[in-house]
């Protein structure tokens, strides 16, 4: 016997075994033991048979181990009985039944564990498939512009556009208010200034400054020439009259000079009044010109500020849109990478809602429904018992497989 302690890969009999610590071991010594007690010593009647030959729950349920186990059982049933007495035969039968029951229990446990593993695997696959499908849907809808990853970006860009529209309206409103203030202020200022000059013109018209206009120098009456007195003495008054006339003429010349002076002063005063009228007209004209110039300046300033604000706003909106579009592109690239990493398909032109890969969901599993993605549950995965597997492999007949399943309660 070539038993090597600690060596658990010897497959002389093809029976998978575990040691006391649960480790799997197949040794030649144990196979010898099986040969000894499985035929002459009662085989499975020996309690150590179960501890040494039956698979532990949770162990790998490969086909070879199942086949070996069935072979061992079959061998126990069909033992030659050589060397066994009647008492030993009854005990062997009871032990065999107990062993079979325990074997059935172990097999059921193995099947349950295998089903659980398969279910877990299928769940993982379904989850992955669901994630991939949802990711593709998310990507394709975004590419088609019908939602997906683009939906949030469209909403943000819509908010940016709405904010831009509102800001443009506010800028336009501010410009309109500014123009209204400029026009209103201009009209008010023009009215005030015009009223001032209108009052000046009215005053100048009502108060002509020409005090010399009515000034006229007169000579006055001629003095008495004492004509009667002179005539009373027989003296002529002719020389006296001549002198009086000469003096009157001189007085008239003096009055004429004064009148000339008055006329000169009057003309100067009239020129002054005319100058004042021209001054008023020029002042009013200058006022209106300056006011109009200031109005044009304010209007230009308001227009420039509006243009500056609009430019700044457009630039800001462009930057915001670019930022969102850049983020959208980055997300699309990221989705493409994820889909490709999951063996998905992102090629082709998307013209309609793409058909996604349906995940495989094991029976009893609720389908993992993504947002807006209705995934139909796949057909139930066919569970195959170890007996069915052995039958399909040709190692068991159909009757044998049914008998074994019936014993396991299937």
């Amino acid at each position: 016997m070539a038993h090597v302690s600690g060596h658990n890969t010897v497959t002389d009999s093809g029976v998978t075994r575990w040691d006391s610590a649960g480790r799997r071991a197949r040794t030649e010594g144990e196979n010898d033991y099986m040969d000894t007690y499985g035929t002459a010593g009662g085989g499975m009647n020996n309690p150590s048979f179960f501890t040494s030959t039956l698979p532990k729950p949770g162990a790998a349920n490969n086909q070879s181990s199942i086949d070996a186990l069935i072979a061992a059982i079959t061998q126990g049933y069909g033992g030659s009985g050589s060397g066994s007495s009647g008492t030993n035969s009854a005990a062997s039968t009871a032990a065999s039944r107990l062993g079979m029951a325990e074997l059935a229990y172990k097999k059921q446990q193995d099947a349950a564990q295998a089903a659980l593993d398969l279910q877990t695997k299928n769940e993982g696959l379904a989850k992955d498939a669901s994630i991939l499908g949802n990711t593709q849907d998310f990507y394709n809808a975004g590419q088609a512009g019908t939602g997906g990853y683009s939906k949030e970006f469209d909403r943000l860009i819509g908010m940016i556009d709405a904010q831009g529209t509102k800001s443009e309206e506010q800028i336009g409103g501010a410009y309109k208010n500014a123009m209204g203030a400029i026009t209103g202020g201009y009209n008010t200022a023009k009215g005030l200034g015009d009223s001032g000059y209108r009052a000046l013109n009215a005053y100048l018209a009502a108060n002509p400054n020409d005090p010399y206009a009515g000034m006229q120098a007169t000579v006055g009456s001629a003095p008495d020439a004492l004509t009667q007195y002179l005539n009373a003495y027989g003296v002529s008054d002719q020389p006296v009259q001549g002198q009086i006339q000469a003096d009157l003429l001189q007085a008239q010349q003096g009055a004429g000079n004064f009148n000339n002076l008055a006329n000169l002063l009057s003309s100067i005063a009239q020129m002054g009044a005319s100058s004042r009228g021209a001054e008023s007209a020029m002042g009013q004209n200058l006022f209106n010109t300056e006011l109009g110039s200031e109005r044009a300046g304010y209007e230009g300033k308001a227009a420039t500020q509006r243009q500056t604000a609009m430019n700044s706003l457009q630039q800001q909106l462009y930057q915001d849109r670019m930022q969102q579009e850049s983020a959208r592109s980055a997300m699309a690239n990221q989705l493409v990478m994820q889909i490709l990493a999951a063996n998905g398909d992102v090629g082709g032109e998307v013209t309609q809602q793409p058909v996604t890969q349906q995940p495989v969901i094991p029976p009893g599993m609720a389908p993992n429904r993504g947002k807006g993605n209705d995934i139909k549950p796949p057909p139930a995965a066919a569970y195959k018992s170890p007996e069915q597997i052995a039958m399909e492999a040709g190692r068991l007949t159909e009757d044998q497989a049914r008998a074994l399943e019936a014993r396991r309660g299937y």
């Binding site: 203030a181 400029i182 200022a189 005030l192 001032g196 005090p211 004492l226 003296v235 004042r276 006022f287």
Partner: protein, 145 residues
């Protein structure tokens, strides 16, 4: 900030008007006094001439140059000279009185001209101040733009 202040303008206008009235009253009163004085002086002058007339004829009579059936050229010339002096004296006095009155009138006209110029200057200044105030108010109104 040269805002228009109507109260300041009206105060200045009242001051100018009061000054114009005061100086006008002084000029008018001086003219009145001058006329009064002239009238009195002219009356005194007339009284003197009237008193001198008989004395002149009597003087030539005492010298035998004038009297009944006496007619001399010296007396005629002397009497004519007296009449000339009287006429010249009265005319010169009246002319001087008229010239004095003209001076008062001219002074009054110049005073009125100065007063009206002052008021017109103030009105012009006021309108200019109003225009400046309007522009500054306009600038303040749209200054926030």
């Amino acid at each position: 900030m040269a805002f228009f202040n109507p109260a300041d303008y009206e105060a200045r206008r009242r001051g100018a008007t009061q000054s114009f009235g005061a100086t006008g009253a002084m000029n008018a009163y001086a003219q009145f006094l001058s006329q009064q004085r002239g009238t009195r002086d002219r009356r005194n002058m007339m009284d003197q001439y009237n008193k001198a007339q008989p004395q002149i004829a009597a003087g030539y009579g005492r010298r035998g140059l004038q009297g009944p059936n006496v007619k001399s050229g010296i007396f005629s010339a002397g009497l004519q000279d007296f009449a000339k002096q009287r006429a010249q004296g009265l005319q010169e006095f009246d002319q001087g009185q008229m010239e004095s009155n003209r001076m008062y009138d001219l002074t009054e006209a110049q005073r009125q001209e100065a007063f009206k110029n002052q008021l017109a200057d103030m009105e012009s200044e006021k309108s200019q101040t109003i225009a400046d105030a309007a522009r500054q108010l306009y600038a303040n109104r749209v200054g926030a733009i």
